[in-house]
């Protein structure tokens, strides 16, 4: 929304100054838009519409979809439990090295997910830095389990939530927290009853971003959790595998992912519009 308005604002002076149509901006803009849209059109054009129904109900598709939705949701919940306090720490406290911590939090945003997967294996794998002790003491090995899928997704998606919530916390008026303190509220009560409700739109937006990022996670998952149908094969992995065997199945799976993402986008838009 904000980018639209700023683009419109930028357009006007050019038109006034030159009196001509701003080709230099409009042509690349249309090209860019087409570039973003065409792949989806291709997907729709090549979709095996007649067999779509039966393909959708195939157990592999349903299994992958169920696994994807469950793991992305669990990953989002874990990210909320860990990420909101982390965002609070970054936004509301001063401690030495806070800027470094903040930079480190955003690292998973910029490194290739597959590198993240390798790193996770090196730390939590059966012979990993921590994993060897976990395995030695409990006999449990995390990689190539459904839990590993969640761990990979949290690693990749939680920074989105942290960044979003931290921004909301920084933007929130802290004087409301002062007001609550004068009314006798302890710090935890203030956080629960005043701060969280104030930043709720930011938390929600962050959670949705986090969820959709977790849903689309591929690189870290395939490296750390492998590609086992029913256990670690999420939708993106299933799409990749299907593409090697029957492209039609890949198209169907992609359409499902696309539909889920669109629903999320629409929900999020409504929320953003209705939010104050």
């Amino acid at each position: 929304m904000s980018t639209q308005t700023s683009a419109r604002r930028r357009e006007r002076p050019i038109r006034v100054a030159s009196g001509r149509f701003p080709w230099l901006l409009v042509v690349p803009a249309l090209l860019g838009f087409a570039f973003l849209l065409l792949p989806f059109l291709g997907l729709l054009l090549r979709a095996p519409w007649p067999t779509l129904g039966t393909r959708l109900l195939m157990p592999e598709v349903l299994g992958a979809l169920r696994l994807s939705l469950t793991t992305a949701t669990v990953a989002t919940l874990v990210s909320l439990v860990l990420g909101v306090p982390l965002a609070w720490l970054l936004a509301r406290t001063e401690f030495p090295g806070r800027r470094v911590v903040r930079a480190l939090v955003t690292v998973p945003l910029v490194i290739p997910p597959i590198v993240g997967g390798v790193a996770l294996l090196l730390v939590l794998g059966r012979n990993g830095v921590l994993g060897q002790y976990i395995y030695a003491w409990t006999g449990y090995s995390l990689p190539f389990t459904t839990a590993a899928v969640v761990v990979a997704q949290v690693f990749v998606a939680m920074p989105f939530l942290v960044i979003s919530v931290e921004g909301a916390l920084r933007g929130a008026d802290r004087r409301y927290e002062d007001a609550a303190a004068t009314l006798g509220a302890s710090r935890s009560t203030i956080f629960r009853r005043v701060t969280l409700p104030m930043v709720a739109p930011g938390v929600l937006a962050g959670a949705v971003l986090c969820w959709s990022r977790a849903l689309g996670e591929f690189g870290a998952t395939v490296m750390f959790a492998g590609n086992f149908p029913g256990r670690t094969q999420t939708m993106p992995l299933a799409v990749y595998l299907a593409m090697q065997q029957s492209p039609d199945a890949a198209i169907v799976l992609s359409l499902v992912l696309l539909a889920v993402s669109l629903v999320i986008l629409i929900c999020l838009r409504d929320r953003w519009v209705s939010a104050p």
Binding site: D173, R175, Y176, D178, A179, A180, A181, T182, L183, G184, A185, S186, T189, R193, V194, P197, M198, P276
Partner: protein
């Protein structure tokens, strides 16, 4: 020392890179103290320090004899009304008022009953379920007051309680506030930059400028005998400081040169002289007659002031004169014109500095 503790006894020392505050406050039970001062003088910092929201480098805060200096905000027996009221938007008016008692561990139903009673007292029983956003400014102010009183504080702090209201609402909310403050048994500290609020609401006025106390006294005393240019402007007086010798006071003029002012009584030593703009008469030619002060000054600006016209003059001394619109037309004054301004000696108040 009085036999009983004052309700509030505090010395507040706050230091920031570009600002230092050092004031001493004492407020008796039931007394309302107004802190008057220009923006940035440190008035709000005083309240925040009393509430424990601004860190102090030195000093103490004692309420009813209890030392609160090291007590965190949430355990101080205070109620605070903030400038923009800061009502919680995600709660109803009733929940806002019940929030404090709930935090103090009062059971939910009892807290809600107490809140409903308080809302009734401030005349908002019908708005208990309303969201703060749907309330008018005056209503929000009353909810904020009810919320501050709900914790049964011993010290009530009001930060510019009427600044956010329009002139019409201000009047009714001010008298409403006055009634509630009269009922409150603890100490009240009000911060304001409006002298009218201070005059109406307070028992005592303290003027704070640049982080320090510059004058205190009853509202009438402060209004009649200002001691700084800020207060003088606020209450609309022309004020000069000087040395008295008999009926003659030598004050420092605009350029720093001495200027003589004749007063009615005899005085000696450092004094303030003050007179109202209304007591100044303007003439095109030099006036003569009874003992007068007369200066030839240039017109600096002219503005409407009620049913009068206020003429700002500059020269040996700077002063304001209020004349009628008819008088202005007769004199045909324009900025830059030179006129004679005169004040009768009997109109000039003179008091020790």
């Amino acid at each position: 020392m009085t036999p009983t503790h004052p309700a509030l006894d505090a010395r507040l020392v706050v230091r920031r890179p570009s600002f230092a505050l050092d004031v001493h406050l004492r407020v008796a039970p039931g007394e309302v103290l107004a802190l008057l001062g220009p923006n940035g003088a440190g008035k709000s910092t005083v309240l925040r320090a009393l509430a424990g929201l601004a860190p102090m480098v030195d000093g103490h805060v004692r309420v009813d004899g209890l030392d609160l200096t090291a007590v965190p905000t949430e355990r101080r027996p205070i109620g605070m009304v903030f400038q923009d009221y800061l009502l919680f938007d995600h709660m109803s008016a009733l929940e806002n008022v019940a929030f404090g008692p709930r935090c103090q561990g009062v059971p939910k139903t009892e807290a809600r009953t107490r809140a409903a009673r308080l809302l009734d007292r401030v005349g908002l029983a019908d708005h208990a379920g309303a969201r703060p956003r749907s309330l008018s400014g005056g209503q929000a102010q009353r909810v904020a007051l009810a919320r501050a009183l709900a914790t049964r504080p011993r010290l009530l702090l009001l930060d510019e309680p009427l600044a956010a209201l329009d002139a019409h609402t201000r009047f009714s909310v001010r008298s409403h506030l006055q009634r509630h403050l009269a009922d409150f048994g603890g100490a009240t500290v009000i911060v304001t930059h409006d002298p009218l609020d201070a005059m109406v609401l307070a028992d005592r006025v303290m003027v704070v400028e640049d982080g320090a106390l510059v004058q205190q006294g009853s509202p009438v005393d402060v209004a009649r005998r200002p001691r700084t240019g800020y207060v003088a402007r606020l209450v609309g007086l022309n004020l000069y400081r000087g040395r008295a010798d008999g009926t003659r006071v030598t004050v420092t003029g605009t350029s720093g040169a001495p200027v003589a002012v004749t007063v009615a009584g005899t005085h000696s030593g450092e004094v303030f002289t003050a007179f109202t703009p209304r007591s100044v008469a303007l003439y095109r030619t030099r006036p003569d007659g009874s003992p007068r002060n007369a200066w030839r000054l240039a017109v600096d600006g002219i503005e409407r002031f009620g049913d009068q016209v206020r003429v700002h003059l500059t020269g040996e001394v700077d002063l304001s004169a209020d004349i009628t619109p008819a008088g202005l037309a007769e004199l045909a004054l324009a900025p830059g014109d030179l006129v004679w301004a005169s004040v009768k000696a009997t109109e000039v108040a003179c008091y020790p500095a």
